[in-house]
Symmetry: C2
Subunit: 386 residues, 2 copies
């Protein structure tokens, strides 16, 4: 187990009545609120009206930033920063999924500096000195952004999708009501599940592989996600299944599964150019990339992949080589993705073979586990995705 | 899954080099420090000298409160409160196990009020308005106090052992170096493991029993603790085993295993008078009480106890009734306690049968799971402990 630091100060309000905590949370923040959200779904569901009523009831002045898109872009962040500076915003309330929350986080640090947010934080990784505090109301379980310190923003002009981390961008609070996910379109739910599993893999498949509490927790979480997904696909209003998916996706990135692990993140980095260039949904891109990444790299950590096969998929190891067990676990992973309707190939994503060279050239190679990642590896993995 | 709130702002520094974070943590706190610790073990190990050197290096004025005993008592808390008020203490540093940390927490709230700490907080559960911030350096994995908001104090005069919870008594930071536990006497290590497992059971064996992420995490943690304990008993300097025990004991009570659960705490409440009247080590008392509590109550939640038997102990359920599987899991629990040398009976603890009536009369009946706890239940359970 590597040495680690764990710190996560987010207040989570979880459950059917979680929204009832909003007034108390709002009572503790400033008067001028930036309300950040995406498209029409929160208006259709009535959530927008509930939030606005709570804000009015709390006597807040509200400035709105609607229209945050999946793979949230620099333009939207600049728009939010301008609004914050013009109106003297005290607090940001993000209502939506990871894209909305990530956009809100970038605005939070960008609005409290004279530096260009993209260059300073997302390119140069300079330290932020201040941030507008923020809270979230989650509608799509996937990115874990509601309980982490990370934000990922896409620069459409340069074709870059970069991340930034700061203790200043932990939400002060996050409201997680699983019933808000009952009406999620199936592909969004599936993308969210893929993203959640991918996060767990990025942490679990990395050194050290000595027996650890962290790995045991990760395996428990994976089994829960797989089981709850099957239930929720059959009955989208199964509360317990929805609650398990929501809490698992949040827990996956709250930091507890990083503890003692090197962590990987190569699959995420290989996926980022797919989103940045082709505007592919992050979870859809991961569904294609991650199983192929596993296949490509499993021979460098066969015991770990075999353990995954046995512990998560119940593969019977009797009479098989370690590598064969490992490969069976990866096949079961792919089968599960097929079963839930996740995309399998670059073709499914509308990405042509001719793009591979460019996508590989854009891939950040700095993160890896077990063996250093090269550009040739990325090309080979993307080739397997065809 | 019940609705829940999760909040835990403790900064954890974990690992072989965790102590290296102490100077940075000390840089952020006031000048006048109360150093709270127990007996001679931190002096014998050299830890006391390391801590004092760091405090001197940071330019702090140090007031010492040594001699905190297991089952920390009101007298020691009053002594600490006096020191804080006399010297204008800005920050409390607790170096030791749960007793030392609990004592420090009680001092932290008691020193910032004119009310009597015992009556106000530990009897009447009034809200604390302020607390001296505190940090901890953990030497005994057991109580989870290093990452929770609870404190348990014994009033020797009245024979009461009561708890108090407040967001104000979360440590600001806790330093967890597993190598500090290499020299723990075996009985202290075993008591700590029993306490850790007992904490997990208090949360796991409670409604609702619907499939949940929280239960899956609890089962993973139990398996890890059992496996790491066996390894550490064979080789007390096995770093990974010691690290797993330490992190599991902290994780068990950080709040993550409460999420969505009613929680029980009856076994803890039945044990408290044993400690308060006979000064029995908390973990030793739990080793006697908790398996008998399980035996007594398992028929009210046979499916849950059977699940525990299968998931944690690998009991084969084939051809057995649910209750028989449940009972086999409890027997395996008792067998494990015997294997690691934990006490099994009140006699082992030096408690006579004649004390049962009084111990039962002193038991707080307010906490339970599955079925309300009565005084007759407590007498019956203590009778099974003979």
């Amino acid at each position: 187990m590597n040495d680690f630091r764990f710190y996560n100060p987010v207040r989570i309000h979880f459950g059917r009545e979680a929204m009832a905590q909003l007034p108390e949370e709002l009572a503790g923040v400033g008067k001028k609120i930036l309300l950040v959200y995406g498209g029409g779904s929160i208006k259709a569901s009535g959530l927008y009206d509930r939030v606005l009523a709570a804000l009015r009831e709390a006597g807040k002045d509200v400035v709105e930033l609607p229209g945050v898109m999946p793979n949230p872009r620099t333009e939207k962040v600049y728009e939010g920063i301008d609004l914050c500076k013009t109106h003297g915003v005290d607090f940001i309330l993000a209502v939506g999924g990871g894209s909305v929350i990530d956009c809100a986080k970038a605005i939070a640090v960008g609005a409290r500096t004279d530096r260009d947010f993209w260059q300073a934080f997302f390119v140069n990784w300079e330290e932020a000195e201040d941030a507008i505090p923020l809270g979230t109301i989650l509608t799509i379980p996937a990115t874990g952004s509601e309980m982490d310190r990370s934000s990922v923003i896409t620069n459409w002009a340069t074709g870059e999708k970069n991340g930034y981390d700061s203790d200043l961008t932990y939400p002060a609070f996050s409201i997680l009501d699983p019933t808000l996910t009952y009406t999620l379109p199936k592909h969004q739910m599936v993308n969210g599940v893929v993203d959640t599993l991918s996060h767990i893999w990025e942490l679990y498949f990395s050194e050290p592989d000595t027996e650890s509490v962290t790995d045991a927790l990760a395996e428990a979480l994976m089994r829960s996600v797989i089981s709850a997904t099957r239930t929720a696909l059959k009955d989208p209003t199964d509360y317990v299944a929805r609650a398990n998916i929501m809490w698992a996706s949040t827990f996956a990135l709250c930091g507890m599964l990083n503890n003692g692990k090197k962590t990987d993140w190569a699959s995420h980095n290989i996926e980022h150019p797919l989103s940045a260039v082709f505007d592919v949904a992050h979870g859809a891109g991961l569904a294609v990339v991650h199983p192929n990444y596993m296949k490509y790299f499993c021979s460098y950590a066969p015991e770990r992949y075999a353990r995954y096969a046995v512990q998560v998929w119940g593969v019977d190891p009797a009479g098989k080589t370690t590598l064969a067990v490992a490969q069976e676990g990866i096949q079961r992973t792919r089968d599960f993705f097929n079963e839930i309707g996740a995309p399998a190939t670059l073709t499914d994503l509308g990405i042509p073979e001719s793009a591979i060279e460019d996508l590989a050239a854009r891939t950040d190679l700095s993160c890896w586990a077990y063996r250093e990642l090269t550009r040739e590896d990325v090309k080979a993995i993307l080739g397997m995705c065809l």
